[in-house]
């Protein structure tokens, strides 16, 4: 019975022996597509992290006064700024950044040691905003001016906007690359199906002559290319998944595989998106093969 069923399903096309180049190209395309998709996911997540990290924060910077003794004025204005912040609606905590912390912040630019100790560094006050609340910045600035004329409010909005723009740029570039890969895959598949059709022209013609409908002939071809493209792009996508799992693992044990990049570790939920790639690869090859067959059949009487 099983033998009978297998005979029924036996393709009217021979198994392709020389399809390896197509497999390789599609696997590479899928790998690149997976990388672009991961870039989208990482950019999305990083932008979200930044937003979450900065959105709830306000910083007041108290600069050293232009004249008069520096340290007493700085200390007085900073304490006043903390009090103002604490009594501002929408802010639930405010505290001064310790001198040590401030020094660490400027260390990359100024180095450390005696030189820094003598420099009048600005004092920083960090405030946390109640999530979902908007702070009236204009009012805050007015109140601050009265008690701490050298204090300046920074709500990071400007940074957030720039980071968002950066993340958006990365995302749209990655979408663009995905689009290009889809086009290249389509072109490759079209080329391969056309070559396959030419190689099996005798079979196509015979089936056509025997009264096979276009859809019967097309399904023999599209199934073949669907299978080829699906498995090849599955391999490519899996390679990318392995790459990202390894990168995530390295980060987990404290190694950063690539400097200057946000964390590469992707969650399983995000990696699941990569399952779209073999589906898309298979669908592209399937549709292209079908269209090629119908185009070829239109040229036969």
């Amino acid at each position: 019975m099983r033998l009978v069923l297998r005979a029924q399903r036996k393709s009217v096309l021979p198994r392709e022996a020389g399809a390896a180049p197509l497999d390789i190209v599609i696997a590479i395309m899928a790998f690149l597509a997976a990388l672009s998709l991961c870039a989208v996911l990482i950019a999305q997540r990083t932008a979200q992290d930044w937003r979450r990290g900065l959105a709830g924060k306000l910083t007041v910077q108290v600069l050293p006064p232009a004249q008069g003794p520096t340290q007493p004025a700085l200390a007085r204005e900073t304490r006043a700024a903390v009090r103002v912040l604490e009594t501002t609606p929408g802010i639930f905590s405010a505290h001064e950044l310790s001198e040590a912390k401030t020094e660490r912040l400027v260390e990359p630019w100024l180095g450390k040691g005696a030189l820094v100790a003598d420099l009048p560094l600005p004092r920083l006050v960090d405030a946390s905003v109640v999530p979902g609340m908007r702070v009236d910045l204009a009012a805050l600035r007015r109140r601050l001016k009265k008690v701490a004329p050298d204090g300046y409010v920074d709500d990071h909005r400007h940074w957030l906007a720039r980071l968002s723009r950066l993340a958006d740029t990365i995302m749209w570039s990655a979408y663009g690359v995905l689009g290009l890969i889809a086009i290249a895959t389509t072109a490759t598949a079209a080329f391969a199906t056309r070559a396959g059709l030419a190689a099996h022209h005798d079979i196509v013609e015979l089936l056509h002559q025997m009264g096979a409908h276009g859809s019967f002939i097309a399904s023999a071809f599209d199934r073949h290319y669907l299978r080829t493209a699906f498995s090849a792009s599955l391999v490519g996508a899996l390679l990318a998944v392995i790459l990202f799992i390894v990168a995530g693992g390295l980060e987990y044990v404290g190694l950063k595989p690539m400097a200057h990049l946000p964390p590469l570790a992707l969650g399983m939920g995000q990696l699941a998106w990569l399952a779209l790639i073999p589906l898309a690869g298979g669908a592209i090859a399937w549709a292209t093969a079908r269209l090629s067959v119908f185009a070829a059949l239109r040229n036969i009487y």
Partner: protein, 223 residues
């Protein structure tokens, strides 16, 4: 069943291969198309089995005027025709059995229902023991018999055979001819092209002779 009216045929810009060919084949008839090599027999058959459109003239097949019929009807018309090609055109990646089963698969018959038909016809043409063989491992005569089995297995309304006994000895030739007559007795209209006039002496049949692209003998029933 088949009507040609003033049919002319040329390949591309080439010379006219068929000129003013007119004839009628009645349903249930058995006809030999004879003529020297290069006379245009294969070309005439191609028009008939819908492999090429005529350059001019009218062809009516199963009551359908091919010039005005929708192309969507052609697959159904083609499935009513069994063809033995001069060059066999077997698929080499399929066994003899699967080659013969192909027309049945195309008409959507389930394999449980056609296995016996295929085995029967292959046994009739003397290939009962070679059903799983690849065509390339068969001799020319054996391949021809597979091609014949494939053409007749679906009991077509019209059987067209192009030099179907060219590669077999006369004993097998007579045996295959008996198969065609048997099929004809069951209702299939048969048209066989051959340059072997010795073949046509057998059975109740008519002859149509083509010389240099023109019909010189109209179908006439022989005794």
């Amino acid at each position: 069943m088949v009507r040609f009216e003033n049919v002319g045929m040329r390949y591309g810009p080439g010379p006219e291969i068929l000129r003013d060919v007119s004839f009628v084949l009645e349903a249930g008839s058995f006809t030999f198309l004879t003529g020297p090599s290069g006379a245009g027999k294969t070309t005439l058959l191609k028009l008939l089995y819908l492999a090429e459109p005529p350059s001019r003239g009218l062809i009516t097949l199963f009551g359908t005027d091919l010039a005005t019929a929708s192309r969507h009807l052609f697959p159904a018309l083609r499935r009513r025709i069994g063809v033995v090609f001069q060059d066999f055109r077997l698929l080499d990646h399929l066994s003899a059995f699967d080659n013969v089963a192909l027309p049945l698969r195309l008409s959507g018959v389930r394999i449980e229902d056609f296995r016996q038909d295929v085995e029967e016809i292959l046994t009739w043409v003397g290939l009962g023991s070679r059903m799983q063989a690849r065509p390339s491992t068969l001799s020319g005569g054996e391949q021809q018999r597979v091609a014949i089995a494939r053409a007749v297995v679906a009991r077509p309304d019209l059987l067209i055979a192009d030099e179907p006994t060219g590669n077999v000895d006369s004993d097998m030739g007579q045996r295959l001819l008996r198969l065609f007559f048997e099929l004809n007795r069951l209702g299939t209209t048969v048209l066989i092209a051959t340059h072997d006039r010795g073949l046509i002496a057998t059975g109740r049949s008519q002859e149509m002779r083509l010389v240099d692209g023109r019909l010189v003998t109209m179908p006439t029933v022989r005794p």
